[in-house]
Symmetry: D2
Subunit: 347 residues, 4 copies
Amino acid sequence: MGREDRAMIVRLRPETDEQESEALAAALRRAGLDVTLLTLGGTPLLSVNGRAVPPEVEQELLRHPAVEKLLRPDRPYCLAARSSRPDGTVVRVGPVEIGAKQPVIIAGPCTVENRDQLLRIAEAVRDAGASMLRGGAFKPRTSPYSFQGLGERGLELLAEAREETGLPIVTEVLDTEQVELVARYADMLQIGSRNMMNFALLRKVAATGKPVLLKRGFAATIEEWLLAAEYLLAGGNDQVVLCERGVRSFEPATRFMLDLNAVPLVRQLSHLPIIVDPSHGTGLRELVPPMSFAAIAAGAHGIIVEVHTSPEAALVDGRQSIDPTTLASIVRRVRMLRDMVEELVAV
Amino acid sequence: MGREDRAMIVRLRPETDEQESEALAAALRRAGLDVTLLTLGGTPLLSVNGRAVPPEVEQELLRHPAVEKLLRPDRPYCLAARSSRPDGTVVRVGPVEIGAKQPVIIAGPCTVENRDQLLRIAEAVRDAGASMLRGGAFKPRTSPYSFQGLGERGLELLAEAREETGLPIVTEVLDTEQVELVARYADMLQIGSRNMMNFALLRKVAATGKPVLLKRGFAATIEEWLLAAEYLLAGGNDQVVLCERGVRSFEPATRFMLDLNAVPLVRQLSHLPIIVDPSHGTGLRELVPPMSFAAIAAGAHGIIVEVHTSPEAALVDGRQSIDPTTLASIVRRVRMLRDMVEELVAV
Amino acid sequence: MGREDRAMIVRLRPETDEQESEALAAALRRAGLDVTLLTLGGTPLLSVNGRAVPPEVEQELLRHPAVEKLLRPDRPYCLAARSSRPDGTVVRVGPVEIGAKQPVIIAGPCTVENRDQLLRIAEAVRDAGASMLRGGAFKPRTSPYSFQGLGERGLELLAEAREETGLPIVTEVLDTEQVELVARYADMLQIGSRNMMNFALLRKVAATGKPVLLKRGFAATIEEWLLAAEYLLAGGNDQVVLCERGVRSFEPATRFMLDLNAVPLVRQLSHLPIIVDPSHGTGLRELVPPMSFAAIAAGAHGIIVEVHTSPEAALVDGRQSIDPTTLASIVRRVRMLRDMVEELVAV
Amino acid sequence: MGREDRAMIVRLRPETDEQESEALAAALRRAGLDVTLLTLGGTPLLSVNGRAVPPEVEQELLRHPAVEKLLRPDRPYCLAARSSRPDGTVVRVGPVEIGAKQPVIIAGPCTVENRDQLLRIAEAVRDAGASMLRGGAFKPRTSPYSFQGLGERGLELLAEAREETGLPIVTEVLDTEQVELVARYADMLQIGSRNMMNFALLRKVAATGKPVLLKRGFAATIEEWLLAAEYLLAGGNDQVVLCERGVRSFEPATRFMLDLNAVPLVRQLSHLPIIVDPSHGTGLRELVPPMSFAAIAAGAHGIIVEVHTSPEAALVDGRQSIDPTTLASIVRRVRMLRDMVEELVAV
């Protein structure tokens, strides 16, 4: 990516009103620049994209009363960089806070299979102490002949499970045409690993204003991942949680290689919260507890795990699902560990 | 993927008419099965998805006069398997045949930048002897601040370049919402590497009936790639060309690692034509000629390369673009080589 | 690897004396079999290599009074498999136990540079509470022009540092011709990542009887790693500690990708203790503390880290070395964490 | 690797005699520098290792009558760089030239199994038109229980096969302690993939003066590979042939991923000849012919393939061995292709 691809960010004074911001943006556009109006944590920003700002325009900007600061990011992402919000972001999904002290534990079935299955698992998940419910209504399946999920019926069941348990729900959205539908039901929208670079989807999901769970592409670099987050942030949505879920490697013993190096690295590079998915990241039920603990010890803000009341009978991914008893044990220990960790990561 | 994920394919006699096929499909659906009606090379097929066909239904099918054969694929893909069409598929894009004797050479700029640039390159590409023109109107860019392509204006320019040169055009479609628009202009729709597992897009592109260029995901296995092709074929579109374009690896000297093993392997496993993209597969202009020759010698049906009249000035990916003189030299030699190769691969 | 590559292991009764074992081995050799005499944790074993035992010989073995059991491993490795010693192995290096309750912390410079540097670091390492001292005298360097270590002079300095501090020392041996020399000085011999498949070296190091630290090859599968351990065990040496140190991947942000999945997996598959090297596994000083904690939380029996009193001035790998203050903080916290973890991994 | 790791190379005038070179080296050593005396293609060189040459010493060197030029390489390797011998190196193994116009075809069994097998294959290989015979006497086996080769008996049989057929032989050497023994029998010594970073072995093999076949480590970068070659060249041996043999990847369909990008890249970066091993690089017999052609078309100076008269019965790696008829067909076509290619790569 050449230098010209990097944005200049114009940070405006917090008190600048919309009219003023718009006027400034319009002036820059008249000077031939491509400008987007954003807010990050309440602060209005102008992002100047694609080509260098001429020196005379830069001088004018510096003299403008509404302009607080010009930021020229030294990395390709800017809004996602820790420097743009050093204290970190807390994402709120209903009563749940992600990125704060308490670790978040999101649990549920890989796929919503039917009403009974979902409600049984949802109650077990709540009883085990988890904070949110996950479950797939639209499933990205490698084969066109595999079960593709229940679709809208699955969303209805998730909403019913939320009513029953009080747990906010997160579910995956696969395509721009489904965004509105899924956003009507879900409390948090998940961008799956295969869609991390589906930029049209990122833009449309950003526009819903809903909190987003952005999974890492299974062969995406950390920089590409933060740039995908930048699409969401540049779309005006700062309620973004990153999720490490394992990457492709030469090792056949586990389904993916969980890259926990990413956890402390992302905490250093970005202000966004990061959680870990040890179910997909290992593909092996027995590895879910130890890798949950490892994730928290590395500094993750939470975990997302697949749970099934009868793992062996699951339609999809049963091999990596844990049962509710194991979940309860993980929840208890993750909380203990996280208390210890806040101090640890401050080393 | 469990056994239950594999389809049974019911091959009907060629003379079966639509009404008969529909009636048979309806009967199977009443028996609780999920059935899709397809044609592959003119032969009507019923694909039974998702769960095993009960023995009594199977017996009935075998006795039915319209049923020619029941196919139970031993690989997860079925329509894409060579066994389903041993003589291979020839894909037609206007006057161009891909998968036949003549190698296809697709060339053009990474991105449509403006009218002058495109027409100049298109003419140079035609004069160099290429068979089709490529060029991006919608670009998948890792950064939200990078130039994202001219959009519909780019499509108009591509259509104009086709008028001027007579070359059919292939261009990428990024999102389900653009499919109709892009299909109005393009002769062939490209599914890019980042979208190989965008299954909603695969389905929608299949439905256009247009020829499709399906690039391999940069971390997709060959089986996953053929399953992506299966989505297109199961959607009723058999005009699919596969394109190897390099995968992620630990090697920093080249942008991607071009996996030419995939060429003879795909020719063995599938009936679909396969071409190679040495521009993205190496990221280095100097490697484009030798890797074009290697691709053809490995049995590829053609190549797709990035060409620019002033590579150093290209807005995107200039480092991997060749100039028209080099293209002319590649075209000449690829043709010589391909003549020799048809015999070679028959070893 | 074909079936014929797998050994049958004949476990003899514990009271069998050497003469009896030898006699039985001789008889099998007369029957044309390739037999090795071993002991694993005091139990005498005969390993029959390379080809299947004829049924009549098998019958005879089963009737033989010294034979307790015939083991036909279902994995390619046998002595390294957990089934061959379910309670786990504790490796003893002087007063240090690896694989027991207390986590082991091995620390020291990447390379022994000179007397002052080493003694200063060794004392700092002891004061920080580490259990063993590491330091390279012979260094495997990618370039022939890089500093290759002080050689025997480095070993003398390590021995002096042991005198001063009481810490046992571990150091790498690069070649069969150095094994005797290094074994004269070191308490534990390290097989480095680049030599994990140097089978001649494995055999020779096994023969010294010294405890061995076996690093994972940076592109070795877990099965290949356990087979390398099998070389050591089959050579009669069961004092083997495995060390995960990161593998090659496409991610450029860290030097290697630390594969912590390997920790719980190895604990499940093998009885050998496993420790983790977050210095090489990340290449970034800031990631050493969190990844040390993650390793322990995943179930590792200890860590090995690079420490330098002036990291910026280190001749080799300064970018990944931590200072003694950080080490002290890691030691304290690793101990707390490990207390909690023994219970955790029992989930 | 820091700047201090790079050598300065002092190129002496061709007519400089040994005494003069030694005197100059001695003078530099007295100035505290680490100096090695080398010759590259007959030209005497002094390699100054490890630390920067002080300016005043540099001035003196420039004034010295025997000094032709000071080279400060911009890459970590120097002697292996193309700049140090722009016309390329031709390696001679008996009557065979590698790196010249004629492609070299090395063929033979993976492993020497017995006299009959070897002689039968050797004759078939000669009759098929190959230029050299390969065969393993010492085999690097992942499992200690696998057949490890016939050892010296295998070397004797290889020598006998050479007598019979007139073909020079190349065989692998696994350990420094075997170097002398193997060098007594072989015409060319092979460093295997697992030993590419066994630096002690590289040094000892260099010292034999025998031609060396240096396989790429299966997870080695191209730069690391050229640095391994640099060890051989810096050891005074310039008879080095590089061999691409596939690298580790996430793709399970082939045993390794053959990286043909490496062929044109190595030809650009280095003067050393490069050949390709499609047998290990694919692991699949059917892929050996097309990938042999691809290798040659990419610019390789030859290929090395595994041949067996009864591939299904081979003790090791039968799945990737071809039969002599296929070899004969490959030889014929590789020669045709190579004639065409010398012109191709000159594009």
